[in-house]
Symmetry: C2
Amino acid sequence: MAQEKATAGARMSELKLPSRSEDFSEWYNQLVLRAELADYAPVRGCMIVRPYGWALWENIQQALDRRFKATGHVNAAFPLLIPRSFIEKEKSHVAGFSPELAVVTIGGGEKLEEPLVVRPTSETIIGHAYAKWIQSYRDLPVLINQWNSVVRWELRTKLFLRTLEFFWQEGHTAHATLEEAEAETQQMLGIYADFAEKEAAIPVIPGRKSESERFAGADQTYSIEAMMGDGKALQSGTSHNLGQNFAKAFEIRYLDKNGVLQYCWTTSWGLSTRFIGAIIMVHGDDQGLILPPRLAPFQVVLVPIFKNEEEKAAVMERVGKLRQELLAADLRVKTDEREGFSPGYKFNDWEMRGVPLRIEIGPKDVAKGTVVFARRDKPGKEGKSFVSQQGLAVSVAKALEEIQAALYQRALAFRNANTHKPGDYAEFKVAVEKGFSISFWCGNSQCEEQIKAETKATMRCIPLEQSGGQGKCICCGQPAKEKALFGKAY
Amino acid sequence: MAQEKATAGARMSELKLPSRSEDFSEWYNQLVLRAELADYAPVRGCMIVRPYGWALWENIQQALDRRFKATGHVNAAFPLLIPRSFIEKEKSHVAGFSPELAVVTIGGGEKLEEPLVVRPTSETIIGHAYAKWIQSYRDLPVLINQWNSVVRWELRTKLFLRTLEFFWQEGHTAHATLEEAEAETQQMLGIYADFAEKEAAIPVIPGRKSESERFAGADQTYSIEAMMGDGKALQSGTSHNLGQNFAKAFEIRYLDKNGVLQYCWTTSWGLSTRFIGAIIMVHGDDQGLILPPRLAPFQVVLVPIFKNEEEKAAVMERVGKLRQELLAADLRVKTDEREGFSPGYKFNDWEMRGVPLRIEIGPKDVAKGTVVFARRDKPGKEGKSFVSQQGLAVSVAKALEEIQAALYQRALAFRNANTHKPGDYAEFKVAVEKGFSISFWCGNSQCEEQIKAETKATMRCIPLEQSGGQGKCICCGQPAKEKALFGKAY
């Protein structure tokens, strides 16, 4: 019966995923569960990030944290529980977040005098602390980040993309001038873009949000926008210039060099576990995940192949030796030593889990001093090659770099092929059906609303990179100075 | 006025701390604030861990996480919100935690059908997930850890030592047999002890808790106990063998090799930001913190000394060069470039913040090719020495090792000097007034209660290391087989 159980498990896992092209949404849902990235929690809309998913998040954290620290930021931890009255101090903030709050009304068995909010974001409680800590221009800038989770009472949820609780980092900085705050806001947007492209192999469009899409309490919101495998947009990181809104609401002030009391200028910026959704939807295929080598929990999986105990001994001895060489080169390696599973089952399983490079080793390979490389990004024979065991770590590192570059190029080519520059509103409607549109926009929110109502596409951002010139708004035909990115979005 | 402000700040920071020997508690409270390790949050009993404190916690996290991963554990993230009914499924668990819960009753503006609890610990929600994930003996053991914060509605709070929300790691494992679960429980206790002694330079006594001090829902609780600078005990990490209590409450079962359905055996273990309190109270002195080099956010602070621009240029050039050498050797280095503060002020400031090694460099040092080392653990001239700039990174690494070892030896000597083996109950009462007592105990909770009532000392643990033999209970005189550690505790 135990054997039956294991076989049943194996069969379950071998079941074909829904086809990515036929049912992208269901392909996504099932893949997240099958690859054991995440699972549903008993509370509606909450998620469990399972070890494989969390290892991916830890790699994302390290890649970002390195960049944050290199630009002078430090980490800290602010409380989870925020007095309800704090949320109400900044007018737009309360309007934006009130409908989404989880509220603690009972503590230690007693009704609380003032209800506490489980943080939906931390501008308010951090503003309160900054007001206390910042006295003089000497104390500025304050550059703090925190890694935590936040709770927003979302109604329609989907693992990683939109959950009641999600994991993220939120940076909060305070500056002496508007210029410095704006430079910080854009620096962090640049860091997100650099991270997305270099680490996750995801091309992104950095740009400015329209007023209607701004963070509640921000003067400006910037985002990076990525195209998913179904042509839809995913906002993958945001950076906000909060002006003096929170400084005024929380009295964050400093004495300038002339001894005059001034309000600070603050920013905030965040990137969340939603980004894991982007990695899945940009790179994955019908076989499952394809993880970018720089972020993959396992960059390489070693699959030993043998038919009897004698072969097993020879193969496992060599696999052990090669594994040590790869680990010594700081590669993240998994050896699949599971018993009772065929090599074919293991191949499918690791393909589904998106390990970038598989190395197969059988008795003939041991004899010849070779191994077989199977690249996850090139299915079938095309991705297979015989490689010498000599200098294996160097060959693996090279293959991983090639895979990383190939994933980026493929995603970029797909985005380019699905990004259009419509000449008129009719063409625009066709363009946003299956991808992005870049076109002049008058900046008027009425056009934005009309487009949304008629096409379901939203203004993703006004790309920082503009080709210049002037033109006519794609919707109303009025003169326009900037081109905007439109698309349907998650 | 700005200058006045800065000077005022300087003076504030130069104010003497309360004397550690005269008012240990107030010395602790003020030191935590002054050294900017933590601050009070607007919600009663909650804390903000400031960047300097969080950097210390990050180093603790790394030192532990390395040990967890080396023993096969993986990280994951389970939700913050737990259905109220989950807490009620395990009888002792609900009794222990019910009075301490923070309860969310409103979500998204509406009253929830079932209230949600902000996790006080995660045995229940993880038990629920394990029941779903574990099918067969092939799935075991499951070895998962998570880094997060939990909320317990404590009434008397103190920064780091007892706060409503605190930061920690909680490990949760499931096994096929009691023996494996017990081995895991003790392995993790051993890891905590190894971490405390090797990384934090804190000698600890690992042992078993009495029934009254067990975790709510555990069959056995083990802890590491450390002696603080005032002779009191601090429970610094705990490891629980949960038997089949949670497995039965949540139906965590597996098919064994014979195809028979069995309940799993589970464990949990945690170490929290409370440990930062231990570091402060074990090593600190009247001047402030003394951080163990292996965990200190900055292991070395470079303080340049000069009187004019010419001297400044020469000194800063050399400081910059030496700093690069130290960074290249993976040392954590801070250069104090603050203007408008005297070297003496900087010396005091970094002493208060507990940086293990200060390096002073003035114009004469530049000329002679030397620097001055000032060891934080040896105040005054005793800790000062001239050191060549040649091979500085090696000299620094050696000094840090010496400081690390000296801190441990000093803490051990203090604990030994304040640990007594009383011959009778009268001597026992004297011993626990100012330190630890190790004596035979009959194991009866009546004696435990009587001792607590009469001396305020509690049974800290039954040390794993026993001298053997038999004796008489220090309280009731009845025959006893084991020696127990008693002391007043935080």
